[in-house]
Every structure is written in C-alpha cells, then in structure tokens.
Symmetry: C2
Subunit: 225 residues, 2 copies
DNA sequence: AGTAAAATATGATATATATCATAGAAATGA
DNA sequence: TCATTTCTATGATATATATCATATTTTACT
C-alpha cells in the first residue's frame, strides 16, 4: 500500500491540512483503484460512504435530467476530491462520476474522514472553502445557462478547457471530449454544438482536425462571452 | 437590544448549535436593522464581513449577467442566514440581496462567527450542511436551466413558491413577485413569462386576478415538470 | 383626486435552437 | 482486415423563445 505523504492529492486538496500521524492512518485505511476510461466511479442515487481522491486522470460529474439527457455539471481532475458534499449531507450522491481518461483514485471511508472533521479544524475549513468555491461556481453556471446564448457558452467552455487542462504540443486542447460531451457541458443539442464549432472554424476562431480542437483566436473568443 | 435565545433564526438555522453563553455573546455584538421592500441589503462585489440573520420577511439573491439582466438565484426567508459563503471564502459576496417585503435582519460581525467555528464543532457542521444543501440545489437548478423548457420551469417555480411560502386565505400565492421577477427566476424574457402565465390561465392550470396567482390544478402542473 | 410612472397584456415578427434525416469519417472489436 | 458501431457533419424544417411595438391596467406620488 502506497503512502499518502507525497501524493498529489494531498498537495492540492483539503488534505494538505493533515499532519504526519493522520496521513499514516489515512494510508492504512484507504483503498486504491484503477478506473478505465468510460468506467463509472459512482452513480446518482448511490450511497458512497466516503470520498475519492483523484490521483490521476479526469472525470465528469453528470446529472440526469428528466428529459433523459445527461448534463455535465463539473470536470474533476487530479489533486481533487470527490463525494464530499454527499458525505457531509449524509445523503446519496446527487451526481454520477464517469472517467474521461484512465484514472487512478483512492477511496477513504467516511468514518476516517469524519474523525478529521472533529479533530482538525484546518481540515474542516479547507473542505468548507472548497465547497463554497463549488457553490459560487454553480451559481455562476446557473446564470450562464439561464442568460447566455449557446454560442457564448461554447466560447466560454472552450477557453475554460484550455485554461484548466492545457494544450498538446500541436496546440490542440489536451482534454478530449466528444462533441456529445461538449454539448452536454454547455447545455445544447449535439448537432447544435457541432454546427457552432463548424461556424467557429469557418470564422478562424478555432481549427478542427478530426476531433482535435485548437483555439486560434483567444482574444476574439473572449470578446464573445 | 433584544435577546437571541428565542429568535426564530436561532430555531431554524445553524445557530441552533450555540449554547446559552454563546447566544448571550451574540446578542451583545449583533446589530438589528429594518429593511424596506426594495431596499438593498448588500450588493455583488461588496465586502460584507459578517452574516445576516433574516428574522422576518423575504429577500431575493440576484446575480447580474453580462447581458445586463438580473437573475434570481435564490429566495431567502425568515429563519435563514445570509452571506455565509462569502464569509467562509473570505471574498466579496457574489450575489446581491434585495428585500421583497419589509424585513427585519440582524448583522453579526465575522470575528464573532469565526470564533464559533473554532470552538463549536456542531455549529461548523450545521453551516457545512447548509452550504452543501445550497450546492446540491444549485447543481439541480443549473441542469434545469440547461435542459428544461421555459414552460416546465414556470410550472416548477409556481409549485415551489406555493410549497415554500404558502397561500393566502383566497388561495393565491402568498409571496408577491412581479412578472419581471418571476421571469428572472425562471430565466426568460418578461413577455414570455406573462404569455405563458396567460396560457396556463386559459388551460385552467392557474387563475390570474390582477397580479395575484392562484394554482388551480396542482396535479397537472406537477405532470408538466 | 389626478397625473405620471410602472407593470401587465397581447400581437407581429425575428431569431436561436431543436429535431429529423442522411451521409461520411473514425474508432472498435472479432 | 473487414465489419459494425459510434462519432462527426450538414441540410431541411419545426419550434420555442426573444424582441419590438402598442394598449391597457395598476400602482405610486404630490
């Protein structure tokens, strides 16, 4: 069983507040797991009873709408935690988590984490701040969905993807989403998403090569938001 | 200065975890304030440096979209707290709060609340659970905005308003929103909102008398969601 | 009470976006 | 390597919703 002390998740997440003893305890009770691209980590309505640490890879958090379409609420990448909200509320998870790439995740049972809440105030505050950040972001997204056009949301999302996940040597977006997934992030029909990408391409804002997307005119894309 | 011990906010909010001593301290440092309908409690971008307890009345939390339209993110009513997210994140507020009715609110400075976080674990957990609830709700609203039609959102919002704020003796919704406000809750143009209300009226789902709205066919409204 | 301002209502029209249909390209698997 | 499925692309069309215009009603003000 690998140690938690040098783990990337520990560096970047709320877990950075844990001391050496706590980390040793953590390493003992955690379970590691490889998740293949496309695999489900947990599904809406499940009882998870713990949190996941994303050590490597990216996953999407989705919510099923009554119309049968999935909506991508958030992307979660290495260094982040998964399932905090549901653990604290003591409820089933309200979102599904599906790997977008091969992933490495660790699972920490609820009992262990709840102990940290009691004894380590800094840890509690870190978790609280993370969730507050998520809330602020969710409010902002809600307004985006309600008030912005699909075109604006597409531009914004493309910029976000490049900012957050970077680009390959050829300049294309590092993170590989299908058109369908991109559409379900911005909240539109797949065909509309494809059509707009095609428009952006013709306008020289982006370049499409197969499923690779390269942002060509960042300034103009920013102006569209 | 009135006591906090019997206050409605204390009964229903995270503050219920506070003990007698803490409540006495609270009563000493809080400031009370009457807010008239339409008055601004705080505005997006302000530094609030504390939280508000809503003792009476209802306010809307709004966010300005780049297109110049306000979007109502949430309604907050008596017994609830205001400004927790921003206080914890130690950031300016991301939403504006405007009274929809005459209100009575108390302000508690940040220093006081932060003390409770350190010493009272139950209080921390209560706040955390509240914010987690807000996050779950925000995620759900985000998906609603992205995936549901305006008609569905109107039906859902009307049911929500009756559930949450109740009805008058004549059966009409107790909370009085302008059509404009209703539109900015569901994320549509004012005219579209008015038109759909008119449609619902003709279908016998609701009844309109002046600006009063009475839900007539709850079952059918629920089916629409 | 009377007037100005705001809110509600409704029609006409424009526009964005969804849906349906079809075809080609790319990925996957035996 | 070929076949089957999934993904991308684009046209044609339908539909929901926004926008503009105007009238009526309600509210607020002095």
């Amino acid at each position: 069983m690998s140690k938690c002390e040098q783990c990337i998740v520990r560096e970047f997440s709320s877990l950075k507040a844990l001391n050496k003893d706590e980390l040793v305890k953590l390493a003992e009770c955690k379970t590691s797991r490889l998740v293949k691209k496309g695999e489900i980590i947990f599904e809406e309505g499940e009882n998870v009873n713990g949190i996941f640490c994303v050590k490597d890879g990216v996953c999407k958090l989705t919510k099923l709408s009554p119309n049968g379409k999935d909506h991508i609420v958030k992307l979660v990448t290495k260094g982040e935690l998964l399932g905090q909200r549901s653990m604290i509320s003591d409820e089933p998870v309200n979102l599904s988590a599906v790997a977008l790439e091969d992933m490495q995740v660790c699972f920490i049972p609820k009992s262990e984490i709840m102990g940290f809440f009691d004894k380590n105030n800094q840890f509690s505050m870190n978790v609280m701040r993370t969730i507050c950040g998520d809330l602020k972001e969710a409010d902002s997204q809600m307004v985006n969905m309600a008030q912005k056009t699909v075109k604006e949301r597409l531009a914004e999302t493309l910029l976000y993807l490049q900012d957050t996940f970077g680009k390959n040597e050829d300049g294309s977006l590092k993170i590989q989403l299908t058109r369908d997934e991109l559409a379900s992030m911005i909240g539109t029909a797949t065909e509309s998403c494809i059509r707009l990408l095609s428009d952006f391409n013709k306008l020289g804002l982006i370049e499409l090569k197969g499923k690779k997307i390269t942002l060509k005119n960042i300034a103009q894309l920013k102006k569209m938001i």
